[in-house]
Amino acid sequence: MNMIRLSLRMLLRDWRAGELHILTLALIIAVSSVATVSFFSDRVQRALVLESNRLLGGDLLVISDTPLPPGYAEYARQLGLKTTHLTRFPSMISFGDNSLLTSVKAVAPGYPLRGELKLADPPAEGVAAQHIRVAQGIPERETVWVDEKVMVALEVTLGDKIEVGAAELTVMSMVESEPDHSVGFVSMNPRLLMNEEDLAATRLIQPGSRISYQLLVAGDEGRVAGFRRWISERLSPGERVEGIQDARPEIRSALDRAGKFLSLAALASVVVAAAAVALAIRRFIQRHLDGCAVMRCLGATESDLLRLYSYYFVMLGSAASLLGCVLAVLTQEFLSYWLSELLGIALPLPSVLPFIQGILTGMVLLLGFALPPLLNLRQVPALRVIRRDLELANLHSLAGYGFGFAILSVLFIWKAESFKLGIMIMFGFLLAVILFGLFGLLLIRLFLLTRPQGSGPWSYGLANIRRRTIPSLVQATALGLGLMALLTLTLVRNDLLEDWHARLPENAPNRFLVNVQSDQQKKLMGFFDEHAIPRPEIFPMVRGRLMKINDRPVNLNDYPDPRAKQLVNREFNLSWTDTLQSDNEIVAGRWWREEIISSEHELSMEVEFAETLGLKMGDRLTFYTGGGDFSATITSLRKVDWDTFHVNFFAVVRPGLLDNYPVSYITSFYLPPDKTPILQELIRMFPNFLVIDVASVIERVQNMIEQVTHAIEFVFLFTLLAGFAVMYAAIASTQDERIYEAAIFRTLGARKQQLARAWAVEFAVLGTLAGFFAAAGASALGYLIGKYVLHITYSPSLWIGAVGVLVSVIGVTVIGLIGTRTTLSQPPLQVLRK
């Protein structure tokens, strides 16, 4: 017999007879919500990365202090990536008697690959507003674009010729902002942009000059990653590769968290959808028990039935998953279009991964929850055709759901892209199922003890729950799980957003001052007082290069990880303080105390930095500083909250150890936009200061958070939709019993209204149970996720819990009553004759 053909026929027949509507609907909603969330978060995440790459001027930078081999760019172009390059160096430029140390950037066509270079009209007397426009191309030959500082300091106007090395170049435009201007602690000297073809004429590129050669690469994400892998294996000493995540830890951490949250949202929709599918399958199996018994009578073997229904479910799963995915593509396209309009950013095209994930989710959900009962279904006793009381032994067994859960957890870990998050959610929900089940059973048993007297809706409603103990438990647990996923998401979402806003308050520091000398501190504080800017904290720092670890010279080749290589290769700042900064937290060892004198030089290391370099507690590090070598032992590891934009250091030592080394100071402060002009005064007063403007970085990060917030809100709505599917499936799962019951009750004289009231009581009790389960579960899971995954402060919200319970009670009752409306309208005889 051709089982596949028969399965298809059975499937089509069942579909036509309306047997599959609820299951298919649950599957389609499951797949489409999971895939929409995946598609959407995939696109949003990639848009956020692209958006932040604007800060680099490209997706990836290769930086070197010697000219880069042409092979790098050639290979990138072979991969279909866009490339350009630039040369950066400090130089004195002059106009008439004025001269100025400037950061020169010689650019080639194509610059910038990401982001925009903006030009502005030079300031004029009495003209407040500047016309800002996006530059088309790069400076033409023999011309330069300079920033306002150059114009002010050299007293030049557009059209003047200035001397750049041996060349005379005409000032053509004033630069308002450059995309790659504020990344990393690059010099904030006055800036000049020139065409690289004029570089030779300046004769500034000489042996020994401090020059940074950069290759900018941009294009398809996968190819950029491929290029990064390729080049990481070929970097020579002095060369490094940088993406935005390497450059700015605060952006990396914002992106990480956003990514984790979006994954969490996708997971929540999987849980919600799984609950809906599990319930729908339960109903399907119940309705097909008799059919299986008849088929067994008619000669179908166990393996016939197994094959029949396996093909059946594979076909159903494929069709529903495909449909769900198509729906997801359309929905996310609409959402993305709407979101791009709203935010003014274009989302990159979706990748195929969410599509595959969607299909797999559908199949895994269906087979995970259908297979165990299916394996039981084939064992339906044929005798059931004569004796209806013969039930399937294991129809309600938790083992069946356990298999689905196990399969689901694999899906979780895959979707969470984090073992920790996946496992935590899986165990969270598993524990929730067990606790909900046990607690629910206990409550129902208590109802049994306190059997209400009388014949009102209360006693009928409660009697219904008692009579259907197992189905009621399954319903309340599934509803509770779905709602728990939604509530967890709500709680975490609120905390995440609040946390972000708290980290980046309106007056987060937006300027860094570097190279402040000891004798300038007092004068600088006076300057702040004079301009009514709160005195910021000021930190000492000594620049040093890591030379030895445990007396073994550092060898670049020991670090295959490009980021580690780059960190080792870089000069970094050592600081000291006696009190731990508020945004630092000791995660290993102990902070030094005055009363405990250590024989070793104590050093506290930032934990991620230590992990990247493979450093551990007790390691002895030797640095080379301008004042000689300096050694210290790691006695603590610190976690630093980079999102605060406060001054922070990878390495901090105990005060007093670096007193004899050349020290300078660094500080960060908030400069209100209306006070920007005082910077000129500051620079004039302290010509040696390096002012680093992170305002645009902060603005971008804030903008990104804004975008993520919107994205999260949309994704959340979708998960909510899946929640309704659960409610519907939950109500439908006991529909048949209800129809039969209603017929009997009505035959015995019950009015529709009486039945409806009794059911309302039943639904309200189920809703209350589910609501309390969900609120308790979500509080616990929210706490765990906040603490261990997103690293945010979790604030339990009674308010959200209460709303959750209320929504559950009202939602389940209303949807329940709507779902059973048709049940009441069927003539009893019609039902009983079935």
């Binding site: 051709n2 008619l298 000669g299 044929a382 005798l383 055709v385 004569i386």
Partner: protein, 224 residues
Amino acid sequence: MNNQPIIQASGLTREVDTGGTRLTILQDINLEICAGESIAVVGASGSGKSTLLGLLAGLDVPTRGTVFLDGEDIFKLDEDERAGLRGRLLGFMFQSFQLLPSLTALENVMLPLELSGAGNAREVAHSWLERVGLEKRIRHYPRQLSGGEQQRVAIARAFVTRPKMLFADEPTGNLDAATGAQIIDLMFAINREQGTTLILVTHDENLSARCSRVIKLVAGRAVD
């Protein structure tokens, strides 16, 4: 009718555990049924009629005893082999009709043929529905048919594979007297035509009177 027994049961006993006590539902049933015979199994409710039918058809397994169907010791077969044997040799009719609600009348009749992999299921099923007078109802679902019509579909489904034996459990139990009589007429007419051996469980005296032999059960034992 020939004199070869097509069904032989000996020492058939069925006991069940009910909360620690052992309850005997059927005790030491011995019988032989020849091909073409029509047998009525009668007795009060709870006397073990349906259990006997289930055991003879291999739907259940006895505590002791054997059943030979067409020369085959069915309890030496495993459940799947018994299912195969049912598909080849047996037809069934039930009090509650047991039509699949999601299938039309035609599809319900096609099902046993489809399960056995017969090629022309549709045509054969169609002709059987004509035979039972339901040619105009073939696309109707069970819920759209009356009880009598549903039982006619069940007759068509029972005979569509041309079984050697037909087992019927209270086939008129859910029908009014007039409809029941029509169904009995139809069933016996086809039975004669096909030479099928008929074993039916019934309370209906009209029905048992039309059978060639009556087996009466009292508290699980066959009495003369």
